[in-house]
Symmetry: C3
Subunit: 205 residues, 3 copies
């Protein structure tokens, strides 16, 4: 084990917490978008703002890592975590955007369930970020994210089977499959974040 003296600079943890807080907002907007009665153009506009705010936080992380001499953990891991969190936002934003662009008015119930999984992932991720400082009590987080990813995968497969069951018009299959794949992509991106956190925790322990 190499000896390391890390300074007590907490601002990286604050930035990761901020990035994860954007994801909670994004997941809520996604849930709002799924509702049949929502003003889709307005939700999409707010999602775009949330995505820009998330981008700004990602840039803050990159700038900070570039200008900091001693970082709380490996530089490459900070980059990976920052861009991993950003990827989640991009996938949620894509889902919202496609619903608007394709003028999908009614979304299957299976998709709302999937968005529920995404909301739970966002909350767990936001709760875990401040724990990076002590590196304690993080295991529950990544175990639970992995469990949610499995549940999401089952939902995803059920949704695809339903889409191709003959119940939908082909053009709607095409639309809904794209939306569904963005949702699946968001969950995968959450899992990737959890894997990065696990890797950091293992290295630092």
């Amino acid at each position: 084990m190499r000896l390391r003296l890390r300074p007590a600079d907490t601002s990286f943890y604050d930035l990761f917490s901020k990035a994860a807080a954007h994801l909670v907002v994004g997941a809520e907007l996604l849930a709002e978008m799924m509702s049949d009665t929502s003003d889709k153009a307005d939700v999409a506009k707010r999602m775009r703002e949330a995505e820009h705010a998330a981008d700004e936080t990602t840039h803050e992380i990159v700038r900070k890592v570039n200008s900091t001499f001693v970082t709380p953990f490996d530089r490459e891991d900070i980059y990976a975590l920052g861009s991993g969190l950003d990827d989640v936002m991009d996938m949620m934003d894509e889902a919202v955007d496609l619903i608007l662009l394709y003028e999908v008015s009614s979304l299957p119930a299976e998709m709302s369930e999937q968005v529920g999984v995404i909301q739970r992932c966002a909350e767990l991720t936001a709760e875990s970020m401040p724990k990076l400082q002590s590196m304690k009590a993080l295991e529950d987080y990544w175990i639970e994210i992995n469990r949610l990813e499995n549940a999401g995968d089952k939902n995803h497969r059920r949704m695809l089977a339903s889409l191709f069951s003959g119940e939908y018009k082909t053009i709607d299959v095409l639309k809904l499959k794209d939306v569904e794949e963005s949702l699946e992509g968001a969950i995968d991106a959450f899992e990737k974040v959890a894997n990065i956190v696990e890797q950091i925790a293992v290295k630092e322990s």
Copy 2:
């Protein structure tokens, strides 16, 4: 050139050989899945088991690289090779899974040909892994994989042209295109593995 003393620990080679052996099993299951008379649910179940076994081997590689002080070649190359082999399995698993989910009952002959290319890639990769130890006689392997990838690319393009020729219903185009892209993805993943092996061999020579 830096001087390196690498220990004679053979277990990394054994793990890579094990990972590649899973790919041979996966490619056989894929071939079985293509047959009109196969029990698709049963083949998919066995594929899932093979994929889990492959995952386990990938984790063994990661754990070993994290707990080994001196590795037979660069740590990052071991990660890349391990995850490259894992990616192949994921693509084969995806192809099998989509055939089941989309209830594709009859598959075009062009796809069986593509699966033949995949089987050949799997065998070659499995044969080459033990040769990593001596770093000898590996060139034939990556040259042949590149040749197979070219053949696979020609098949892929023929298949796409046929899918869009007007012969298929649009919903079937949508289904078969997804399956075909997974097969193409598996071949690309084999090529990536061969590129990683080439890179390692060049560095170590």
Copy 3:
């Protein structure tokens, strides 16, 4: 800041300039492909040749970085820039290839506009590569690429909305969406190149 003495070896800059020059050729072929009167098989053949030439330049960069003791900037950045430029070519080649394979005879006007954005990106990238040597006057380049990417994104969204507006047959939606996504992918790849250049410039300054 670490002290660095970099030799005045200009050949890396020449190779990057060469790689970007291939992109200008590729973008022109793409524009030719969009025309209703072009000989699509012939344009696709010339695109394939351009893509092979670009591949050869990428390999030259990799070989050079592997055989050079002191590189003008970090080895990993050279790899990233080389493969980033190569990715652009692959996306342009894919767009041309799909138009041929899917036998798309008439392309929407929105797509020609998108190809205009790609041509402008290619020219800007080619103009900026020689400036890597002095690391001067590069900021305008990445700002303008980011502006073009935003314009391209707006085109892309307009195109998707139009594709799903009910105006097109479903099979044509499927075809044109694939082509459109390759164009979008090319623009994204240009932006990634600009980001890599920005990162290098920041590090070296």
